[in-house]
Symmetry: C2
Subunit: 322 residues, 2 copies
Amino acid sequence: MEKRRWIAAVTPWMDADLKELLSGRAQEMGFEIRWFETEEEALETAAECEVLYGMAPKCLAAAKRLRWFCIPFAGVDRFTAPGLVPEGVLVTNSAGAYGPAIAEHVVMVSLMLLRREDRVFRRMEKRFWQKEKSMDSLEGRSIVVAGTGDLGRTCAGRLRAFGPRAVIGISRSGRGAGQAFDRVYPVSEAEKALPEAELLVMTLPGTAETENFLSEERMALLPRGAYVVNVGRGRSLDEKALAARLRDGRLAGAALDVMRHEPLEADDPLWEVPNLLLTPHCAGDMTVRGTRERCAHFFLEDLDNYAHQRNLRHLVSLERGY
Amino acid sequence: MEKRRWIAAVTPWMDADLKELLSGRAQEMGFEIRWFETEEEALETAAECEVLYGMAPKCLAAAKRLRWFCIPFAGVDRFTAPGLVPEGVLVTNSAGAYGPAIAEHVVMVSLMLLRREDRVFRRMEKRFWQKEKSMDSLEGRSIVVAGTGDLGRTCAGRLRAFGPRAVIGISRSGRGAGQAFDRVYPVSEAEKALPEAELLVMTLPGTAETENFLSEERMALLPRGAYVVNVGRGRSLDEKALAARLRDGRLAGAALDVMRHEPLEADDPLWEVPNLLLTPHCAGDMTVRGTRERCAHFFLEDLDNYAHQRNLRHLVSLERGY
């Protein structure tokens, strides 16, 4: 009798119909998926599983027979420490699933900053009817997107619909222009792009290379009155410098969905910074149905590849960090 | 000696460089523009002026020699009462100037509603870091835009970039499909469109025909969990019915920039309605530079037409209401 091939799935976010779909298809390919809400519940199965699907570091440590680890998120930086993922284990992620949700967040917070909506809403909360006299607009604005992967491209596409003057990318290689970007600078020439960034959108992965990408020096290159939105990783931005530039008015506003220390402590100085919109790392996440569907289908696609011993499509390099 | 031809401009929102541009060009055409911040200051000039430019009903009453009244806004409903504008006076408006600003507001508030951002921000204000588990997205959603003029089309174009399933228009005639809309229903068949409106955006002008467009009966045709955004006129929507549907959860959220009574009184019941985002009629207005530029250029274009006794391009029918 053939031995059962187990998949441990620690995916509390997964919709019932998607679980059913995945279980059925997996069975056809000779696998059984066990679904768990928490890592603790999954530990026993993890010890026996061939495939682990989920943000589950404890299960990873327990999974002695693991062949494939599928991360349902885009960021893999939590797993890049040496030895965390045993050598020889295939690792995939779900980059490409989050673009639409994150782009909606980016457009929303950009418009909230440009239109000074914090002031409007604060007054309306006090039932005080007063219009804002002056607002900015995306129309005619020059936008720079740092990171030209799925997130950056999807943000660029949404933002372009608002009639900006230019949408410029910054990528590792400087490649990636095309429909989404008017032009793309390599990160080595970021200094040429930043003076054009009336709105800077940061979608960078958390790697050694992107650490402190928006340093104090580079921040000084942004035009006066610029806006900064970060949905990548908190480590790519100098938070102290950002706070100072928002306080002295050099920057008009910023929105951070990611910070160096998450969750932000109650006494973190960032809470007090003017014109800074903070959200709890929820731009992407599993909040919208489209994201969950794409994640499930990416897994299914690679399960099919894995079952037929083909190359996995969503393979990542832990060394590179994405 | 030729008599001076006066233009009274009551345009406190106008930028200095645009004033300079308009004054110079007007002079070349034989006109002198006098600029005023308030109606009261303008009254004396108004009595002598040939052209009145501005939202200035008192000046209108005083302007005995008036030939052309240019309204720098899109809505003309304040001037449709019989006798307010003397017969024979040409009336133009600035429809077409507001699309980008209003579309930015529409996308912003739609995303705020869909993404439950009121809850996120309210918690963050208390320094309480908690993600929202479930959000909606524009991706895959069916959107209906009531009003297919400049506002409706511009909103539709921005919203389309987010990957909706369909963008459907409702117009007086049922014409107007094309790039902006997948299809357009005439208002007489609104009942066919409303069940498809997972998001309903209302951009209707304030006319007798649009009065109570979204009645209690029609509201009941919207799908469960729908969202409503109104940037047209407060009179086109039954506020009591909306409040009831938001309270019983039949509608998931609404954003009103326009209301039946503006400014909203401090004891208006609308303030207390859950999932209702209120803004102080500031979606369009003169807040963004692009709007002010377009208004100034529309005026200039028709001043040129007027000076050369050609038809005015931005002529409106006060009888029709737009």
